[in-house]
């Protein structure tokens, strides 16, 4: 049986998600979550956002951002639970819940974005 660790695989997703989130999340969050709702900037209309998201490449980019962000969260939060709550002995269920959530979220995002 192949006993090689699958940690590098999850770590690679964590790293890619860390980069993508570091580059895109602050500005996107500031725009859609703070500046537009508070009227600091004129919020884009439904029509203009609909036109923007109609591009397949835009939705693909969003899928990459949200999915990698989810895997970034899964990996980091898994180790935060181990260290913070000292539950290293619950390795398997915690890993299953964290990565499972990220996979489920990716499926949800992919279906949502595909059926736009």
């Amino acid at each position: 049986m192949d006993k090689r660790s699958n940690e590098p695989f999850w770590w690679a997703l964590f790293g890619a998600g860390g980069v993508v989130a570091a580059l895109t999340v602050p500005v996107l969050l500031l725009l859609t979550g703070i500046a537009f709702p508070l009227g600091w900037l004129p919020a884009p209309t439904h029509d203009s956002l609909y036109a923007l998201f109609s591009h397949l490449l835009v939705r693909l980019a969003i899928l990459v951002i949200v999915s990698l962000s989810a895997f970034h969260w899964a990996h980091r939060f898994r180790f935060t639970l181990y260290d913070g709550l000292q539950i290293k002995h619950l390795n398997a269920p915690v890993a299953f819940i964290c990565y499972g959530s990220a996979i489920a979220f990716t499926v949800f995002a992919a279906v949502s974005l595909y059926t736009f």
């Binding site: 989130a21 570091a22 580059l23 969050l29 951002i65």
Partner: protein
């Protein structure tokens, strides 16, 4: 694995438990836990972004309703906290990058400060580009 003959205490297996808030006493530890907690903010925004696109897909009414929720005090509070964590994530991520990634050109090592500067330049460029997209559409 065998741990020898039966005895009541196993010093080798003894792991003292620390209090759950072990990280609160020292700023370096608190900073570490806060850094790890930035992943919650990243996940929070990933969910919001998908719901945002979904609301746009459903039509003007659904988008108006979602925009109304975005303007609610609860949402503004959540987003403000998440924004601080997101910036902290970017800051700590880019500052650690030179340690995780050593680039050599020939025999010369590219200095960490140059890698950091490139990261920050990239962050600025991406931010400006996304700002431009959302304010010119």
């Amino acid at each position: 694995m065998s741990y020898g003959r039966y005895k009541k205490y196993h010093p080798l297996l003894y792991r003292p438990r620390h209090p759950i808030l072990w990280w609160i006493k020292k700023w370096a530890y608190t900073r570490f836990i806060l850094r790890e907690m930035t992943s919650l903010a990243v996940m929070f925004y990933a969910i919001v972004l998908v719901l945002y696109v979904n609301a746009v897909a459903k039509g003007p009414e659904a988008f108006a309703a979602f925009s109304e929720w975005l303007a609610s005090p609860l949402s503004i509070t959540l987003h403000s906290v998440a924004f601080c964590f997101a910036v902290f994530h970017s800051y700590t991520w880019f500052n650690l990058a030179p340690k995780a990634m050593v680039i050599r050109v020939g025999k010369k090592k590219i200095p960490g400060s140059a890698i950091m500067a490139a990261n920050y330049a990239m962050w600025a460029a991406v931010s400006v580009a996304l700002y431009w997209v959302f304010t010119t559409i």
